[in-house]
């Protein structure tokens, strides 16, 4: 393999890895504070990609598109928490109640998919580039051609994740999330508004989906059923990195994206098998992900 091809594959992998990182961080934050997550995270991403596509095609400036999509998805995140997550609290004690969120969030995802097919049809769609005049806008990096949009995805995703970490570790609100994660009762005693924090994490998760959706549209083909793949891969990435550790997720995502890209090059017939094997092997060796701490439950 030539050096240029290596760079080529690496950058392809990094671009997809960046998207997985954004999506998986959404799963992570919701899971951290509530031990639940949005099984339709990928469908939220898909909806964001469609919305952004429609607005871009209508000639709306990019900055405005970004703002609108983020606001709409934030509202969806709020609605998800309000109507599909919160009502489950009263049934937590019931047998099996702890798994209901999978099905309620899946139900919301199905509704989102159907709305998209009713509005935009069931076909694949062309999503215009964000910052280039056409889709052929290529720059050379170490002898490899890369789309400007791909580079952009990597940069924006990294910046977004760093900002997100800053929020999580440096602000009062972020510490509140960790407090709720540790123990909602204790957090409440410390004056944290638990309900608001839970709403916040689902809004944040949706905003991350919004961001990934806007970014991913131009580098793939959007279609109404693309969401599940992203949910599954983000889920894999979050397990790889450990649901407890945001840095692990970033590393897991990059690892997953790059392994995917190279395994498609080396043995394309089973290109999707190798990343799965990686995840499964890692779960056997490190049962709580690369960086997740295994909790002993001796009490």
């Amino acid at each position: 393999m030539s050096a240029a091809n290596f760079v080529q594959l690496l950058l392809s992998g990094l671009a997809m890895g960046a998207i997985y990182a954004l999506t998986a961080t959404g799963l992570f934050i919701a899971h951290l504070a509530t031990t639940r997550l949005n099984f339709g995270q990928g469908d939220f991403l898909m909806f964001a990609a469609y919305l952004s596509m429609a607005l871009l095609l209508a000639g709306v400036p990019v900055a405005l598109v970004m703002a609108v999509v983020i606001v709409v998805l934030a509202l969806m995140g709020w609605g998800l928490e309000r109507f599909a997550i919160r009502p489950l609290d009263r049934m937590r004690a019931l047998v099996g109640g702890q798994y209901s969120w999978i099905l309620t969030t899946m139900g919301v995802a199905l509704i989102v998919q159907n709305v998209v097919t009713l509005v935009w049809g069931k076909s694949s769609q062309y999503s215009p580039p964000l910052f280039s005049a056409n889709r052929q806008n290529v720059v050379q990096v170490f002898g490899a051609g890369v789309f400007v949009e791909e580079l952009l995805v990597i940069v924006v995703a990294l910046v977004a994740i760093l900002l997100f970490y800053a929020l999580l570790f440096r602000t009062r609100q972020g510490r509140a999330i960790y407090a709720v994660a540790f123990s909602p009762e204790t957090a409440a005693l410390l004056g944290v508004n638990v309900r608001r924090t839970v709403v916040l994490v689902f809004v944040l998760a949706s905003v991350l989906a919004a961001l990934s959706g806007v970014l991913v549209g131009p580098i793939v083909t959007v279609h109404p059923f693309m969401g599940l793949v992203f949910t599954v891969k983000a889920f894999a990435v979050a397990s790889l990195g450990g649901f407890a550790n945001p840095l692990g997720i970033l590393i897991g995502a990059i690892l997953f994206g790059v392994v995917e890209s190279f395994s498609n090059y080396i043995n394309s017939a089973f290109g999707d098998l190798y990343p799965l094997l990686l995840v499964l092997a890692l779960l056997v060796i490190k049962p709580s992900g690369l960086f997740g701490e295994a909790k002993t439950d001796v009490r």
Partner: protein, 608 residues
């Protein structure tokens, strides 16, 4: 007597007969082969869903790979008939065995990982099977499928569909009955216990790894059975049938029907099949309808469809655990506490036990011995290593060196559940009762059944005195501890002191020779502590030796026959309460002694 807690199995068995009759008559009454086809699909899918229901509803393990087991059963049977020419029955068993083997493998992974990580591992497994069926074209035929699979129709083109329905119906009924047994027996109690807290379950004598793997194997066998039937229903399979959607449909059926409920799978599968048929022509809004139904059912009927049905037909099927036990009258036989067999030597000996965490030594070279029918207290300041020691003794931690002898036998290398079986039981500092069981069932958890699993099954199926004896013994224990009136309550509804008593009753039900009590009066008021003290004395009187870890000095001094004091992981004193109380090293340790003094603790050993 406990007549009212027993329950006539004939009502329940009547329901089985009714189902059998319905299945037998259905194909004769309807001439419509499509309806027969749907009934077949309903029954074999239900078999798979029952497996998921046991796995998820009882053991709490989430599998997103059920379609994988289903596919293995289907392809196993298809290939064995079509390529190797096996007879259908043998091939189906072969396919099912393959699915079971895969289930054991995944179950081994499940031992290492939990919760969402387990969900991910099973999801990855499901995808791998999907990839294999799709791409290993030489073997599976991929999307183009396998030809030459015989249909399960006994060679009859007119009655073949009815025959198939009867076979699948018989298997379904057997699975349903077995599942009902599981739901109403010690199997359920054990599974719920390990679901809620594995450590507690282990110390209560449950072999957690075996149970967890077994339940995975069972659920995969059931999924494989469904797959094998699917293969011979249509005499053709291809890889498009075994996608993640299949797993999700089974999951939806499980939850919509009512997780952990006995007829939940049947009703859940019926509902999902009916919805699929109803919206087959509404293809433009099918997802919308499905999504809305999912949300509505889960939010309005959180216990699933069975919750509705049960509230109507409770008196018919559900062996009610509420109500009946509360009315249980005091026994006419006076049950005493189980008496531990007398022993001359010490019942528990700890020899030179050391436990390190990384570089930190939590317990260093500690020895102690407990005599028959005595209370030996283990005290020391916070961080002295008391909890570590008790966890090493009960088998939750493995000691780095030293020996533990239980009734003269070296148990140092045995797992926790094996030690429990040899007469070691324990309670926990922040107590561990199983929240989804009643108080009585929690106590039953401790009772070791002498019946083998098959004997237990037939007793459940045929006898009206199933577990009456066990319940009576459990109730007697509760009576001894003065909380028999709370037998039917859930632990969370009890005051803290009563929960402590219930846990003691659970531990006592194991008929231990040695009981480890980890801070039994922490968080209790004086009156409650007094009650506990009384109970502990009675336990001692029954001959059980007790290792008591406690902070409350007054409590310890009143109760203990002998005291060992730990500080910084080392034994600094041992002796009768009165001796220890005045030991300067002990006073120093509690009041914040200096390092030299605790290091010189060894000298005291000679005196003890």
């Amino acid at each position: 007597m406990f007549a009212e807690t027993s329950f006539s199995p004939w009502l329940r068995n009547g329901a089985y007969v009714a189902i059998a009759v319905a299945i037998a008559l259905f194909p004769l009454l309807t001439g419509n082969t499509f309806h027969i086809h749907l009934a077949q699909t309903l029954l074999y899918t239900t078999i798979a869903v029952i497996g998921l229901n046991l796995l998820l509803g009882l053991s709490g393990q989430m599998s997103l790979g059920q379609a994988g087991f289903y596919a293995i059963g289907a392809y196993g049977s298809a290939l064995l008939t079509a390529k190797l020419g096996w007879p259908i029955a043998a091939a189906m068993l072969g396919g099912i065995a393959l699915a079971g083997a895969a289930g054991c493998l995944v179950g081994l992974v499940a031992l290492r990982t939990r919760g969402l990580y387990l969900a991910m591992a099973t999801l990855a497994f499901g995808f791998m099977v999907e990839i294999a069926t799709q791409r290993w074209v030489d073997l599976t035929g991929g999307t183009m499928g396998i030809y030459g699979i015989p249909a399960l129709d006994f060679g009859s083109s007119t009655m073949g569909k009815a025959y198939f329905l009867w076979v699948v119906g018989a298997v379904y009924l057997a699975v349903q009955i077995t599942s009902d047994y599981v739901m109403h027996s010690r199997v359920r109690r054990n599974l719920l216990a390990l679901k809620e807290n594995e450590s507690a379950a282990r110390t209560a004598g449950i072999n957690v790894p075996v149970w967890r793997t077994a339940v995975f194997a069972v659920s995969s066998v059931l999924a494989g059975t469904a797959g094998a039937f699917f293969t011979h229903q249509n005499a053709y399979i291809n890889s498009d049938a075994f996608t993640l959607n299949l797993t999700l449909t089974m999951l939806i059926a499980t939850v919509i029907g009512g997780l952990g409920a006995s007829y939940g799978p049947l009703i859940g599968t019926l509902i999902t099949l009916m919805i699929a048929e109803l919206i087959a022509s509404l293809y433009d809004v099918s997802f919308l309808v499905n999504g809305i139904i999912l949300l509505t059912v889960l939010l309005l009927f959180p216990q699933g469809a069975i919750g509705l049905v049960q509230s109507v037909g409770k008196f018919l099927f559900a062996r009610s655990s509420e109500g009946s036990e509360t009315q249980a009258a005091p026994t006419d036989r006076a049950f005493a506490l189980p008496v531990a067999p007398p022993s001359t030597g010490p019942t528990l000996v700890v020899e030179n036990l050391t436990k390190r965490y990384g570089g930190v030594v939590a317990v260093r070279d500690v020895s102690l011995a407990i005599e028959y029918g005595k209370i030996h207290a283990l005290i020391g300041p916070n961080g002295a290593g008391k909890s570590t020691l008790i966890n090493c003794v009960s088998g939750l931690y493995r000691a780095d060196s030293g020996r533990i002898l239980l009734n003269g036998k070296d148990v140092s290398s045995l797992p926790a559940h094996a030690r429990a079986h040899m007469g070691l039981s324990r309670t926990f500092q922040n107590l561990q009762l199983v929240g989804s069981l009643t108080v009585l069932e929690n106590v039953q958890l401790g009772i070791r059944s002498t019946r083998s699993m098959p004997a237990d099954f037939f007793s459940w199926l045929l006898s009206s005195t199933f577990e009456v004896e066990e319940r009576a013994r459990a109730l007697a224990l509760l009576q001894q501890f003065g909380i028999a009136h709370l037998a039917a309550a859930r632990p969370e509804d009890l005051p803290y002191g009563h929960r402590k008593l219930a846990e003691l009753a659970r531990a006592m039900a194991e008929e231990p020779t040695v009981m480890l009590l980890d801070e039994p009066v922490a968080g209790l008021n004086d009156r409650e502590a007094q009650e506990i003290a009384d109970v502990i004395r009675r336990i001692r009187a029954s001959g059980t030796s007790i290792l008591l870890v406690e902070h409350n000095m007054e409590f310890v001094m009143k109760l203990a026959d002998r005291v060992t004091v730990l500080d910084y992981g080392e034994r600094i004193a041992q002796g009768a309460p009165a001796e220890v109380q005045v030991d300067p090293r002990v006073i120093e340790a509690y009041l914040g002694g200096s390092l030299e003094q605790s290091n010189s603790a060894g000298k005291l050993e000679a005196a003890s």
